[in-house]
């Protein structure tokens, strides 16, 4: 069924596959840029990934004017401002982000400041506050999960005031995303598992939440198929280029899906678990996904039944009675969690992730005020959240 009204926007060019990195110099030229700043983190440098990127510019007219290697796991205002001065001091004209969610969010934050010519990024907080076309931003994701390379969101921490500042604007979308199989090869098994489950959650929530639409459905559907076919195999054998590349594609497509149709209660509760108990985002997603699916079951049975096809493939789908398919989808995800626990010690319950029951009250208070609660197709009360937490404990 089509929605009464929807919007879908994804102008990011995707260059994906073998030697994708080597197309960057040419693409920068098309954007009128010559002197990018590279934003990355220590892990990327240690894994030798920065070197691969730098080598891809050999024999090109691009001159990298500055490199920032110290992005912390949580992007913050201080770091953004530090990089901004580096950008100005070295007369940079564009940005290349190499990393996971934090590096990409930091790069988007830097882009807001240098493009809007402001000294206070907070003025642009909220939805649609950006007014100026941004400088060319190229994103090279090194994890397969957040999908930030194709989302219009950035979250920057204001450490002093202990708040997270959200920015959403179509202008924040990067110009180009590079999916190069070399870039996700060194991701450790546990992070591969967690980020993969984050991507799966993006796709499942995009497919089932209020603003699902034909375009987000298509992206979500393919993302789910690629994740179910490749996640476990990649966690067990990280050196398989093809399955790694499949996950990078899945993460990007799930990102495009949820950037347009939004996420729901899994994310609302997961964000709160992160804020209160510092549970890594992907871990929280993996734990909560089947429990929230159970909660939404009466409203979403039909859609969960449809998802069994990309989750298990045509043969198993056909062999499952139609009345059993929705339950089978949830069972499949539970089983996947169990296998990821075995293969990479990815926590299955909230207690395994270090959450204490005393934190439930605070988590539910935060979750109920999270923007992702609204697009959830079923009304969620504080009591409901407490029950979900209890079930997932």
């Amino acid at each position: 069924m089509l929605p009464e009204y929807y919007e879908f926007y994804n102008p990011v060019k995707i260059n994906a596959g073998e030697q994708a990195l080597e197309t960057m110099a040419y693409e920068l030229g098309l954007m009128g840029a010559k002197n990018p700043i590279i934003i990355t983190d220590k892990g990327i440098v240690a894994a030798g990934l920065l070197k691969i990127v730098l080598n891809s510019f050999a024999d090109s007219e691009i001159k990298i004017n500055a490199i920032f290697e110290e992005t912390p796991p949580d992007s913050s205002l201080e770091v953004v401002n530090q990089i901004v001065s580096l950008f100005y001091k070295n007369s940079c004209d564009s940005i290349i982000a190499i990393g996971g969610g934090s590096v990409i969010d930091t790069a988007k934050g830097v882009n807001i400041v240098v493009s809007e010519g402001t000294n206070d990024i907070r003025l642009f907080m909220g939805a649609d506050r950006l007014k100026t076309p941004q400088k060319p931003l190229i994103v090279v994701p090194t994890t397969a999960g957040t999908g930030s390379e194709v989302t219009l969101v950035a979250v920057i921490s204001d450490v002093q005031n202990n708040v997270k500042l959200p920015f959403t604007s179509n202008l924040l979308l990067p110009r180009l995303a590079i999916l190069d199989p070399r870039m996700t090869m060194s991701l450790p098994a546990k992070i591969t598992a967690a980020t993969g489950m984050d991507a799966l959650t993006h796709a499942v929530e995009a497919y089932t939440c209020l603003q699902k639409n034909p375009l987000s459905d298509a992206h979500a559907w393919m993302a789910i198929k690629l994740i179910s076919e490749n996640l476990l195999a990649t966690v067990k054998n990280g050196s398989n280029k093809q399955t790694r590349f499949a996950l990078a594609n899945a993460s990007m497509m799930a990102g495009a899906a949820f950037s347009n149709s939004m996420v729901g209660a899994v994310h609302a509760i997961g964000h709160a678990c992160g804020a209160v108990a510092h549970v890594p985002h992907g871990v929280a997603m993996s734990i909560l996904l089947p429990y929230v699916m159970e909660f939404n079951f009466d409203k979403l049975e039909q859609l969960y039944a449809e998802l069994l096809l990309p989750l298990v493939g045509a043969e198993k789908y056909a062999k499952t009675f139609s009345s059993q398919r929705a339950r089978a989808s949830i069972a499949y995800i539970r089983d996947l969690k169990a296998q990821l626990y075995e293969a990479a010690a990815l926590p299955v319950t909230l207690s395994q992730a270090g959450i204490k029951k005393e934190q439930f009250e605070m988590i539910s208070n935060k979750a109920i005020d999270d923007g992702a609660i609204l697009p959830n197709p079923k009304e969620v009360t504080k009591q409901d959240i407490l029950q979900i937490l209890e079930n997932a404990f």
Partner: protein, 179 residues
């Protein structure tokens, strides 16, 4: 009722635009009054704005030219300030066009759909806007008969005599007598 609204919402003649603006303005007026009453008479709504500081102001504006629904926290309650936008506010909710506002105020479109369809934007704190949306939900639940509120609310409470009495109290005290 629905037919009348459907007729009103179709077409773009200047008359229907004026009519829509008038309906939205009246609706904001009613909603503002009811919210003010419930902000101290309904425990769950009271809890939502409990932590907002004295003088906390917000307005919900229909772009580009209004009307708006403006409120301010004074003592234990949220006071309705009228249908003009404020010079300064802690939170601004922008409804992107009059048609969306018209559908919201005539119970054809719920706040969660409007949000999911990217038809409202928030300047300010997201968690404050979630509190406001829950307050509006609760007010709409009182204002609209269940047959209408099922369009705007994800869950509609079951009929009960107690609830009916409460609804009349809200409409009489909030809307008519403005106690």
């Amino acid at each position: 009722m629905t037919n009348l609204f459907t007729t009103l919402s179709n077409g773009f003649s200047p008359v229907s635009l004026l009519t829509k603006k008038a309906v939205v303005k009246t609706g904001f007026f009613a909603l503002g009054r009811v919210l003010e009453y419930l902000s101290y008479a309904d425990e769950s709504i009271k809890a939502e704005h409990e932590n907002w500081p004295e003088g906390y102001k917000f307005y919900m504006k229909v772009l580009p030219k209004g009307p708006s629904l403006s409120m301010e926290k004074k003592g234990e309650k949220m006071v309705f300030l009228g249908t003009k936008e404020l010079d300064k506010a802690d939170m601004v909710v922008e409804v992107k066009n009059i048609d969306t506002a018209f559908k919201m105020i005539t119970a054809q479109l719920g706040a969660h759909h409007v949000y999911a369809q990217h038809k409202i934007g928030v300047i300010g704190n997201v968690s404050d806007s979630m509190k406001l949306i829950r307050m509006i939900y609760a007010a709409e639940d009182y204002m609209f008969p269940p047959v209408m509120s099922k369009n705007v609310l994800k869950n509609v409470e079951d009929f009960s005599v107690q609830r009916l009495i409460k609804r009349f109290r809200v409409l009489i005290f909030g809307l008519v007598l403005k106690k």
